[in-house]
């Protein structure tokens, strides 16, 4: 723990990442208390005050129906984070099981699992998600499913490659000679050695999931109005550039802060978790 703190504070970029992500998480978690207009997360209109540039009390301006942008960005963060966490919570276990089984058991199991992985990896991610969202109704739950479907193969590749290397290690042979089960060897012996790489990748990916979810909603295939979403906010504001710049700049900056923060945090974690190997 003390070593982790030392690594983070020694590197200004890591420290920046920690601070940015702390800000994002706190503002998402405490949106109800921080947001000056909590009601503006929903279908509220205030035409007397629409499309206003930043000024007190709307520090980031108001949108086309007069809702406070700052409040909506806080709630959009909450949805982005939930989406990111749910997607990874679904995709990572699937990828781990597929990668471990393919790498450790090998043979036909490996062939089937890794060729399936390759098929998913060969489709451009946005195209895959778009086609899923095109077939299904564009709701938050379906959006999560679409992003999950394109995300697990990356983990299955990662875990597969580590497993291939780890299964040559003597501790795997030792466990086999003792007579330990395949499940024990995969999940209790090999998996702990994959975790540092998995955790690092998850942190980096939280940023990318938020980005891809924003891209989907930018294309109108993600979260639907009136639910606040960073991608759709940028999309709606785009036609009013450059005059109503606040409509795109603030949600865009919000995406940038989250993605950048998770990237820096991921790099810091790589230093912390990778060093003991």
């Amino acid at each position: 723990m003390r070593r982790s703190l030392a690594i983070i504070s020694a590197n200004p970029m890591s420290l920046t990442g920690v601070i940015l992500i702390a800000l994002v998480v706190v503002s998402a978690a405490l949106a109800d208390f921080i947001a000056p207009f909590p009601a503006h997360r929903g279908a509220v209109v205030d035409f007397a005050n629409f499309n206003q540039p930043p000024k007190w009390p709307n520090i980031m301006g108001t949108d086309l129906v007069g809702r406070d942008l700052f409040s909506r960005i806080l709630y959009a963060y909450r949805i982005s984070l939930i989406l990111g966490v749910v997607v990874l919570a679904l995709a990572v276990p699937v990828g781990i099981v597929a990668g471990l089984a393919a790498g450790y058991i090998g043979g036909r199991t490996q062939f089937v699992l890794m060729r399936t992985t390759d098929v998913f990896l060969s489709i451009p991610p946005l195209v895959l998600a778009m086609s899923i969202m095109g077939v299904l109704e564009p709701t938050l739950a379906n959006g999560m499913m679409a992003v999950t479907a394109m995300w697990w193969p990356w983990y299955s590749r990662l875990v597969f490659n580590i497993t291939l290397a780890e299964k040559e290690e003597g501790y795997v042979l030792a466990a086999e000679l003792i007579g330990a089960s395949r499940l024990h060897i995969m999940f209790r012996e090999i998996l702990p050695n994959c975790l540092p790489a998995i955790i690092t990748k998850m942190t980096l990916d939280l940023g990318f999931v938020i980005l891809i979810a924003s891209s989907l909603s930018f294309l109108g295939l993600g979260v639907q109005p009136p639910t606040p979403d960073l991608g759709s906010m940028v999309a709606q504001g785009a036609s009013y550039l450059p005059d109503s710049w606040w409509l795109t700049v603030f949600p865009g900056l919000a995406i940038l802060v989250a993605v950048f923060g998770f990237n820096l945090l991921g790099d810091a974690l790589r230093d912390i978790l990778g060093a003991d190997r």
């Binding site: 290690e169 003597g170 501790y171 030792a174 000679l177 007579g179 024990h184």
Partner: protein
């Protein structure tokens, strides 16, 4: 008269390398008595590791049979078969899982084979560690916190945890420095005496062989060159290949040179 613990009956094994098949072990027969230490020596590629893996059941022989305590081992080993023979590997850095504590690594053997009551396993791990000369508190440590010699002691404790009487030692000291090497060899000797263990000692280090083995089997290209009492192999090797091997061992060649020098001085 001691009984035969391990017997190999014309065991062969080949591997497919690309399109052709390479004979790794060819028609090896050998018997190891209860409590004996048989050293298997040879250059790299002589088939000594393949032979060790066959005894351990990593793979099954193509031809011939392997018998333990008079019973032929099946191609697919049962849990009970596995418990009868254990391995100590060359590199303890790799043979212990870096993400598990020393205690967890030893405990696996106890859990898999249901040795002792679950509640008594922690103290059993402590005894095993003390038996190999480590404090029982080491159970909580990670392998990274141990020295090379300490790690090898843990690996030995793990092999003992199954209560196997046959232990395959695959170059157990060659990754250690000389002083630690001597201590580990001492420990292996003591354990053999205390527990009545049978050793199959794979090595290319002839100095170690002379120190620990009762008999030596020399392998070349998968076939047996010769086998005999350790003292006999070193003093009057029958085969030219064995003589070459002994001459190539720097320590032993030097010792013999010294002996000859001393003899000459005594005469002169």
């Amino acid at each position: 008269m001691t009984s035969i613990h391990l017997a190999l009956r014309s065991v062969s094994k080949s591997f497919r390398v690309g399109a052709r098949s390479v004979r790794a072990v060819e028609g090896i027969s050998v018997e190891v008595a209860e409590g004996e230490c048989l050293a298997i020596v040879g250059e790299s590629g002589s088939g000594k590791s393949t032979l060790a893996n066959l005894v351990l059941g990593v793979y099954a022989p193509d031809a011939g049979s392997i018998m333990l305590d008079g019973a032929t081992l099946p191609a697919r080993r049962s849990l009970a078969n596995r418990r009868m023979v254990q391995l100590v590997q060359q590199n303890p850095l790799s043979s212990l899982n870096p993400k598990r504590t020393v205690g967890a690594s030893i405990r696996l053997s106890l859990d898999v084979h249901g040795i002792g009551k679950p509640s008594s396993r922690a103290s059993r791990i402590g005894w095993l560690l003390e038996e190999v000369g480590l404090p029982a508190e080491f159970a909580e440590r990670s392998p990274a916190a141990l020295s090379g010699g300490q790690r090898q002691r843990v690996a030995i404790a793990r092999a003992l945890a199954c209560e196997s009487r046959l232990v395959v030692l695959d170059e157990p000291t060659s990754s250690l420095d000389v002083i630690v090497q001597a201590r580990i060899l001492r420990l292996l000797k003591d354990l053999r005496a205390a527990r009545g263990l049978t050793y199959v000692f794979i090595t290319h280090d002839l100095a170690v062989v002379r120190n620990v083995a009762d008999r030596v089997m020399v392998l070349k290209e998968g076939a047996r060159v010769e086998i005999g009492e350790t003292a006999r192999i070193f003093t009057c090797p029958e085969h030219a290949y064995t003589r070459g091997l002994i001459a190539a061992s720097p320590v032993i060649a030097q010792e013999e040179q010294d002996l000859r020098d001393r003899l000459r001085q005594g005469i002169g």
